[in-house]
Symmetry: C2
């Protein structure tokens, strides 16, 4: 069985000690009430809910999967009740606008709760997660009328939402979309086409489902510039806003049999002249879609982190309990027939790798979460822009790095379980299967790397990049002469210098030949992430060195040990990545396609 307790101590450390939550978030207009007390109370309540309600349904949900029968999808046993409890507890509207019945809390908090949900039941989390994306898109791009008629129902969780983008012949390349939107009278459109891989496309958790669908108007230019976004409800919106109208012409044709997240329905959705309403401008669908997509990408990164945390905790519990062989340093527990496997260096290497990347990713993700709030609420527009830049820059990094880590962590945990980890009953192999999709959906991690290298690096003459490079540079400058910090600051400085060189090289080469940037992209994103984590860990170490003495110093000493490990045994990968980037495109583009 997996072991999990919400890592509230580490979350609090990130929020309050490392990232200055109070000064950065509680001071924002509308966040005044989100004080430490409130945040702590919500986190504790969230932890209880996830540990007690969601975790017990995770493995049974995987075994049972979703059921499909003539267009109707039934979620696994217990999901309906859990969702009802989730709604009643107010989790669906945590960060929603109070105008629409939400609690108006900071997005940071929503980020944190998302991690707990993904740690305990990623499949369950898909349903409210998608609704949340739909809320954001409608709030940003919907007409006042649409907002009034939909947002209160999304905020209170009575209704759910989806993102309908992919078609059988196109996923990454949305310019190829076929789905058509024919204008009807009264600002209504008839939507016709087929969408696939639609998460939460049909289910039995809510009274209605609001599909946000990409389609082409009759006069649309070809490619992505001719795509518009439409709201297509499962049941038409009733007159009063509260009652449901008749069933719309949208239906679920089948659900997919997948490697994992089996309790999350993945649907083929057929639109047969279904009634829809334009969201945003005609042909402005890609822009509106990216409102959902960017939030979804961060959410997927959090899924990776959430799974990695459960993998880590389970592996630690197993490594403490399972006895095989003796410590290489001599029997650690001579009265027992064998020592717990946590004594073995290779087991520890796996545990420390998971730990260092979990805690580092968490700090980075929370930093991004806070900047989301700043970008939305700060009174100073310059500061808002800075925060928005930072979030835009970091979104592909969080999505790709945290999900690669989530899969890697699940795999390492499974390795520690040995043969037992391959057996379904233990629940560890499920983490591996569930984690695998996070590297693929909402833009594969290869696409994230292209987004970073091809769009974010060059945007506004490198302005986005400075939002990250400046603080790193400042920290190095400020601390490079402190001998107690040398073991953190020196490796950080070296890796940062490699990142700067690689950045200049990629920018230069990429201008001359975009394939050079493409060939560097994945390695560059990983190098970027490793430097970001090195910065997080160097700051963490500096903070914790001052607090490690005394009885309550255990938490801080563990942080310092983990920072030491990160610098010595993980960060050297940056060296290899740098060389691989600088080797350029030729070694991978030289071969003729027919020779493969």
């Amino acid at each position: 069985m997996v072991s999990y307790k919400a890592p509230l101590d580490d979350i609090r450390f990130c929020l309050y000690d490392l990232l200055g939550y109070d000064d950065r978030v509680t001071t924002l207009p509308g966040c005044e009430e989100a004080t430490r007390d409130v945040v702590d109370a919500i986190l504790e309540e969230g932890a209880r809910f996830c540990e007690n309600e969601l975790l017990p349904l995770n493995q049974s949900g995987d075994s049972e999967g979703c059921h499909f029968d003539k267009g109707v999808v039934r979620t696994p046993k217990g999901f309906k009740e859990a969702y009802a409890a989730y709604r009643v507890a107010g989790w669906t509207g945590l960060a929603a606008d109070p105008i629409y019945g939400g609690q108006g809390l900071p997005k940071t908090l929503e980020f944190l709760v998302q991690e707990l949900i993904c740690s305990t039941n990623m499949s369950f989390g898909m349903y409210p997660g998608l609704s949340h994306g739909a809320y954001n898109a409608l709030e940003t791009w919907g007409s006042d009328d649409l907002k009034a008629r939909t947002l209160p129902h999304l905020a209170d969780g009575r209704w759910a939402g989806t993102m309908c983008l992919t078609e059988p012949h196109c996923g990454t390349d949305l310019g190829l979309i076929h789905t058509r939107a024919e204008p009807l009278e009264g600002q209504r459109y008839g939507i016709t086409g087929q969408k696939i891989f639609i998460s939460a496309g049909e289910h039995d958790l809510t009274e209605n489902i609001l599909h946000l669908v990409l389609a082409r108007l009759p006069d649309a230019p070809s490619g992505t510039r001719g795509i518009s976004l439409f709201l297509v409800p499962k049941f038409l919106l009733g007159e009063s806003g509260d009652d449901l109208g008749q069933r719309n012409g949208v239906s679920c044709g089948s659900i997919e049999e997948k490697m994992g997240i089996k309790a999350s329905s993945t649907c083929v959705m057929n639109f047969d002249g279904a009634e829809g309403y334009l969201v945003g401008e005609p042909h402005g669908g890609m822009k509106a879609m990216f409102t959902m997509m960017n939030a979804a990408r961060l959410g997927v990164g959090i899924q990776g982190l959430g799974l990695a945390e459960t993998a880590y905790q389970s592996a630690v519990a197993y490594a403490r309990e399972r006895r095989q062989g003796r410590s290489l340093a001599g029997p650690a527990e001579p009265q027992q027939k064998a020592d717990p496997i946590i004594v073995h260096p290779d087991v520890r290497k796996n545990l420390m790798t998971m730990r260092a990347l979990n805690e580092g990713s968490r700090a980075l993700a929370i930093w991004v979460g806070m900047e989301l709030d700043v970008a939305e609420r700060h009174p100073d527009m310059t500061r808002r822009q800075e925060a928005d830049d930072f979030v835009a820059l970091m979104t592909p990094v969080i999505k790709a790095f945290c999900t690669d880590h989530g899969f890697d962590a699940a795999t390492r945990a499974q390795q520690i379980y040995g043969g037992h980890g391959y057996i379904k009953e233990q629940g560890i192999e499920q983490l591996v299967r569930d984690a695998r999709i996070t590297q693929i959906y909402e833009g594969t991690n290869g696409i994230q790397a292209l987004d970073l290298v091809g769009r974010k690096l060059g945007q506004n003459m490198g302005r986005l990049l400075r939002r990250f490079f400046h603080p790193v540079h400042g920290f190095i400058e400020e601390n490079q002469t402190d001998p107690t910090l040398a073991i953190y600051v020196l490796p950080l400085a070296k890796a940062f210098s490699r990142l700067q060189q690689a950045t200049a090289w990629v920018a230069q080469q990429g201008l001359r030949d975009p394939e050079e940037a493409g060939a560097a992209a994945s390695d560059y994103l990983r190098l970027f992430a490793l430097v970001a984590l090195a910065y997080v860990w160097a700051r963490t170490a500096k903070l914790c060195l001052a607090k490690q003495e005394g009885d309550s110093g255990g938490f801080y000493r563990a942080k310092i040990n983990t920072a030491d490990f990160y610098m010595a045994r993980i960060l050297p990968e940056s060296n290899a990545l740098f060389q691989q980037i600088m080797a350029g495109k030729k070694p991978l583009m030289a071969m003729a396609a027919d020779d493969f």
Copy 2:
């Protein structure tokens, strides 16, 4: 669907061009008839069988799985017929001794056929694979009487075999085994205990199953020095050798529900005073067991390679066919709505990584396979010893590196398939699930690394190591002044020098503190493998540079491109591994176990 054609051209290149099969193997006593013609004919027949009989059952076997009912195990539909055809075609006795009805062909050939089987149906391959291990153990350690009564049936495939080692409380640490062997009259023993994770422990493919069981005699010393090996047949051996006696006291209690290899039965085996016969010396079970285990470890490495080949070929086929987006260099096929994704650098990076590691691993594995034959048959005992040393050194490297690669390759192929790769129907996610066990069983890859570092490095004053270091050193010496080879020889020389330094460090530190060797082990094994592949690729490039001109040069030009890729974009990892090794144990052993 997966795509697969047996890579016969590459196998022939490795055998005849790169590794001198004719001089090395056909000249061995008893191998005179295994000429190129014979080898080629067998490979072609093997390819046909695997592509036409085994591949079509791979996905259905996964969906259906094995059935268990009151001690009886039924394999999935079609397996029984496929196994019968496999037997009739003579594959079970390919390398078995003609005295026992085998064909007496070189082990090299068996290695090659194993790859084809694992590429097309790894689950199926488990059944004859285990029988093969039992054959080896009985041939080496069994009494003449036991051999005469069992080996002909294993060679002709009427009977199968198993390895019964693991118990619920011990896998890696076999010293903890509880299963007892009580002496009965007439050199018989009563075996009592429970074994778990027994592959092919029970099934419906053969008339009888021979279990090779580790157990303790009453007077056994504790730990691994008190373990003996017993043969426990499912049906007692009849008088004539051909007929079956009565059912023995061994039965299958249940089969496991696993992440993958679902068509391979993984059994709980209960021994209730079952009749058994000693194989080898009393308390000499570990030694006898390692005869099976070492062959099994090489076999598992080949499983990794086999899966990686199917992953690669499927990904290439998909990348040529799936169209998304445009080449970054401008439309490659402007008349189409989008270009095939093989134009994208990141897709190519994944394909080239798979290709370079597949072909490199294959060459290394075939080299080891040939040395197995030399070790067994060469008239010069010194040459035999050299070959045996080389095989012993390389066994953990092949097991761990090829299986890590197999899983990685399956994952990369799945990534190229995008969302479609997550759907069961495509067959790619099965490769990922199947590959995962190869990193775990027959000694986890962490255990392989300890075997390399803790046993093989120091054995006979580093004699084993010299079997690999000498040829590498010689090649570098011989070619370092050739400017056309500089792009291969220089990186090889650098990486080799790192490996030599790391070896000295690990040996020195390990003597002082075994935990230092343990902390280095996994990274050291990977560094070792990367250097071994660099050597293979440098030799390959040298050979192919001379053959690349003209119409038939395509194959050789592709080899050169792949060698270039390996040196430029894979080998730099050796840099990071070196630093990680040299960072020592402290960063991973410093944390108190309670602080995790």
